[in-house]
Structure formats: C-alpha cells, structure tokens
C-alpha cells in the first residue's frame, strides 16, 4: 500500500461516505457490572492493510475485537461493514461475512485432533450427494489439507491427527493462526497471535500475515510485540482505557514515542500531525 493511498480522504462522518473503509465502528460501549471494557471506542479498517491494535493490558483490545467479530454484543454503538451498518448477534453472523478471528484464549477443542480443529464448522465432505446429505467427512483429505495449511508454519508438529491438548503452548497458537489464515474471505482478526511463539515461529506467522494481506485481505493484529508491530503494520491503532487514543503512522513515529502514547506518558494531542495516520 503506497503512502499516497494512505493519505486518501478519511471519512469523518459515521461511515455514510463512500470511503474505502472495510470495517468501521463508532462509539462502541460494553460494560461488565462496574467495569467498562469498551468505553466509546471508534475503529477503522482500510482495504488490504495491516492494522496493528496496541495497548496496555486490560485496555479493552480483546473486548473491542470480540465486538467486531460478533463474539460479544456491545451495549451501544454501531459497526459498519463496507459502509453498511451491521449488527452481529453471534460469531456466525461475522463468519458469514468472511471475517475470521484468532481469539486470545484460542478457542480450540482440546480432545480433538489438529485437523478437526482446523476444519471445525467447515469440514471437508466426501464427494457424492449422499455424503453431502449425511455430511460424511473426508478424513484423509482433511488430514492432507491440514498438513498443507500448516506447511507454511513449520511448528515441528508430528501428525495432524494428534489431539490439540498434547501440543505445546506455541504449537496450539499455530493451529489457531493457520485456521484463520486459511479460511478468511474478507477480514482476518488476530488477537496476539505471536504471544507464545518462538523467534522463528513468530517470523513465520508474520510472513503468513503478509501473505494474507497480499491476497488483498485486511488484517487486524493485536500485539504487545513492538518490533513485530513496527515491522509489519501499515497503521497503528492505540487503544487506551477502553477507547482509541490515536491512529499512528509507524513509518513516521518512533517506537519509544508509540509506547509513550500507549502508556499515557504522551498525550495524543501533543503529537505532531505528521506522525498521525489517517
């Protein structure tokens, strides 16, 4: 994505314009008893960009993306997809729209195999009308495909028919990441996909994210790993105390300043305009 494109007109209204926003949210609020996890958050995602979302622990990042993926229903606010207002009542709605998500707590079925987890909810069926009707799964093909999907991620996993609960922490993460990358048709959301990963494996996941972007899909990447964020993201969404504090341009701003904005040491208003992204 070129710098020229990044400076493209940015809609100030509530997504009514024909601006090229894939996803947009305005004024999201979610309360849990006394805790306000999302506190009037805005959000914007452009086509084929990698948008990093960063913020302190408990800032509300996971809650935000859960709202975007239908896993959580916000108390207030509006979400737009390609400019059209949507209201996801469940993850099924988001998935129908081609939005795939890697959740921070991974959401895998531990006793089931890697292949089954990869294909959960979209199993490969045997050919033939009877097989389709009865939904008979093609175990061999699922194993083969699973091996293919995981090939990009060399995680030293012996067999795709191993139950997920026998995997190491990082290997499990690999399964969840591979799943989202393989099936997304519209947007990929990843909540700390590299947190448990080694150096080598972390780089593989970054590569995978780039591949997804190069297919033309935008990626939302939540990460605490600043080098990763700066290496890969086109724009940085800084989340603070339940809302978006700033939208930064990683090519202009330093890592140190970014961290300062994130932790509140620098107020966003005090930043020079050229480090902001639009």
């Amino acid at each position: 994505m070129s710098a020229a494109e990044k400076l493209h007109a940015h809609p100030t209204a509530t997504g009514m314009s024909a601006a090229p926003l894939v996803m947009e949210a305005r004024g999201l609020i979610k309360r849990y008893g006394h805790v306000t996890a999302i506190n009037g958050a805005d959000f914007e995602l452009r086509p084929a960009e990698i948008l990093a979302v960063i913020g302190d622990n408990g800032a509300g990042k996971s809650s935000l993306i859960k709202a975007l993926s239908g896993a959580l229903i916000p108390d207030e606010g509006q979400i737009f997809l390609e400019g059209k207002p949507v209201s996801f009542r469940s993850p099924i709605d988001a998935r129908r729209e081609g939005i795939e998500t890697v959740y921070q707590d991974l959401a895998v079925a531990p006793a089931m195999t890697i292949a089954e987890n990869l294909f959960l909810g979209r199993e490969i069926l045997r050919p033939g009308p009877l097989a389709k009707l009865l939904k008979i799964i093609d175990k061999k093909k699922m194993l083969d495909e699973a091996t293919r999907h995981m090939q990009g991620l060399q995680f030293a996993i012996k067999s795709m028919s191993q139950p997920v609960e026998t995997l190491s922490g990082g290997q499990r993460q690999g399964v969840a990441v591979a799943r989202s990358a393989a099936f997304a048709r519209h947007v990929v959301i990843m909540d700390e996909p590299t947190a448990a990963l080694g150096v080598r494996e972390g780089n593989m996941v970054l590569d995978l994210i780039r591949q997804v972007r190069d297919k033309g899909l935008p990626v939302i990447l939540i990460s605490h790993n600043m080098p990763h964020v700066f290496e890969i993201s086109d724009r940085i969404h800084v989340h603070r105390m339940g809302k978006r504090a700033a939208l930064l341009n990683p090519q202009k701003i330093s890592m140190a300043d970014t961290v300062s904005v994130m932790t509140g040491a620098i107020r966003p208003e005090d930043l020079s305009a050229d480090v902001l992204a639009h």
């Binding site: 993850p91 998935r95 959401a107 089931m112 089954e116 987890n117 009865l134 939904k135 799964i137 139950p163």
Partner: protein, 326 residues
C-alpha cells in the same frame, strides 16, 4: 481424581475405537472367564443370545444417553419417555384401532418431540440438563400413568410384536430387536465418527465456546441431539414392546441410571466430549453378562446386588489400570 484430568487425551473417537474400548473389553473378558469357571452353562451361544435380548432396549436408550452425555449433558427422562412411547404405540393400535405401523410412527414422533423439548428447555431457558430432564421425568411419568390409567395393554398386533420374534443362527435364537440394537450402534458409531455433525457433538462437549465461536449453531445442534436421543428412546420403546409382548406403563423408571451406567462403564466421561458409543455397547453387555452369569452361578438375589456392585468397581478399575500401563 475427576474425569477430565484422568481421561487419556486420545479418546476423541476419531480413530478406530480400539484403544478407548480396550479397558472395558478386558474387564468383560475377565468376567466371562470367571463365570465360565462357575457354571458350565455359561459359555454357550444361548447366553450370548440371552444377554443381547435382555439388554437390547436399555442399550438403545443408552445410545441416546451417550449422545447427550458427549455434549456434557445428562438425561434423566429417557426411561419414562420410552414408557410413554410404548403406551402410545400399543394403546393406539389396540384400543383406538389405529393401524399398527401408523401407531408406531406416531409413537416415534412423540418421543422425538419430547426429546427435542428437553433440548429447548436446556438451550432456550438455559436450564441445567439435570434439572430440565428431571422435571421432564415427572411430567412424562405422570402423563403416562394418566394416559394409560396404569393399565397394561395386551393382545398386540403382530407388527408391534415383531422385534420380539427370533430367528436361528447355528441353532441359537436371536431376536430381531437385538439385531436392530446392534445396527443402531453401528449407525451411531458412524454418525459420531464420520459425519461433520457427529464431530460437532464431541466438540460441543469439549469446548462449547470454541464451537460457538467457530460459527456452528450450538443451540440448534443441541436441540437436534436431544431430539435424536428421543427418537432412539422411541425405538427402544418398540423393542421393549416386542420383547414384553405388552404395553407396560410401569416400565422405564430405573432405566435412566442404567443407561448412564452403560455409558460411563464404557468409558464416556460425564464431563462431555470424550467417549465412544461402542464403549456404551460394551458397558451394557457387561451389566447383562453380570446378571446372567450371577444367576447361572446360583447367587441369591441380595448377593447378586452385592457382587454386581463389586464387579462394577473392579471392571472400571481394570480399565483405569490398563490405561495407565499403555
């Protein structure tokens, strides 16, 4: 200590059932050897035939129960649903003059609907399965008594008796009901292991949140599981009617525990997501073998209860022991 920590990781049933049903199988073999030393009438084809026909209806109930337990649920109402189904089939056919086949279909439809109702209570009202099916137990039990006026229905038309009829294999008589039972187990095993929906049942018991997040309609799936279980209860009703040759309104009061026992003996975890329906068949057979074997050994009824208790503990202890070694 609790099942989720002790259950071996490999029990998802994706592969051949060999490993997960090995434990109960060993226990069954040991029991058979023991009984064979106690009575020379034990090791005969007739014993096998007896066991199969005696367990047939409880085992079919246990198929439905296993489906439900795999989703981390439980069904206390299975036996009384079966009883209501058998009364509807027999009373319609004998007293209301409904053609037997139609009466059977109506009975099956009713048990399926009641099973589905359990699912609706659990998903829509978010009741714990224990409570929903306990409430249903009372409702269905009382309905059966009221509907049948506590009267047994005799003089059944042949279609209702059919599953109780026998055919000979090598001189040993087997009932059609027992054959149907075995077929249903094969079907359930195929469904759970080889269809997408079957795998979702396991996943649901494993991590319902993961299933929800992966875009599967969990409520619909769960209602489907309870309704399917209800259909199995209806088939069990038909087997029961054929076996007894009558519609018995007092049937089904202890079969809930018996079907759960078969499933758990067969290695299914009450916490859901782990187990195998063929294990359930083994579990049911183990109980049936105990009953026949102890009678052949001439054990007094009170002592049968005592020894069955001990054997159940030993059977599962063997199972656990064989797992720890492997």
């Amino acid at each position: 200590m609790t099942q989720p920590t002790t259950a071996p990781p490999a029990k998802s049933g994706f592969q051949m059932p060999s490993l997960s049903t090995l434990g109960p199988l060993i226990a069954l073999l040991l029991a058979c050897i023991f009984f064979a030393t106690q009575s020379d009438r034990f090791l005969t084809g007739n014993t096998l035939s007896l066991v199969l026909k005696q367990i047939s209806y409880v085992a079919v109930l246990a198929i439905g129960q296993t489906l439900i337990i795999l989703t981390a649920g439980i069904d206390l109402s299975c036996g009384v649903i079966m009883a209501l189904g058998s009364m509807v089939m027999t009373k319609l056919a004998v007293e209301q003059g409904v053609p037997a086949v139609l009466a059977i279909l109506l009975g099956l439809a009713l048990t399926t609907v009641i099973g589905g109702l359990n699912g609706v209570l659990i998903t829509r009202l978010r009741l714990p399965p224990f409570i929903a099916t306990l409430g249903m137990y009372g409702i269905v039990f009382a309905t059966t008594q009221i509907y049948s006026n506590a009267q047994t229905i005799n003089n059944l038309p042949p279609a209702l008796n059919f599953l109780g009829n026998t055919f000979n294999v090598l001189g040993v008589p087997f009932t059609f009901g027992a054959v149907l039972m075995v077929l249903l187990f094969a079907l359930a095993w195929f469904f759970l292991g080889s269809t997408a929906t079957g795998r979702h049942v396991y996943a649901l018991g494993n991590n319902p949140e993961a299933v929800r997040l992966s875009g599967i309609f969990t409520d619909r799936l769960l209602i489907g599981v309870y309704a399917t279980a209800g259909l199995f209860y209806g088939i069990a009703a038909l087997i029961l009617v054929g076996r007894v040759g009558a519609g018995d309104p007092n049937a089904g009061q202890t079969e809930n525990l018996e079907s759960i026992t078969a499933a758990v003996l067969g290695g299914t975890s009450l916490f859901g997501g782990r187990g195998n329906v063929l294990g359930t068949l083994l579990g049911a057979i183990i109980v049936g073998v105990f009953r026949v074997g102890l009678t052949l050994a001439g054990v007094n009824s009170v002592y049968q209860v005592l020894i069955t208790g001990i054997l159940i503990i030993l059977a599962v202890a063997t199972d656990q022991f064989s797992r720890r070694k492997s």
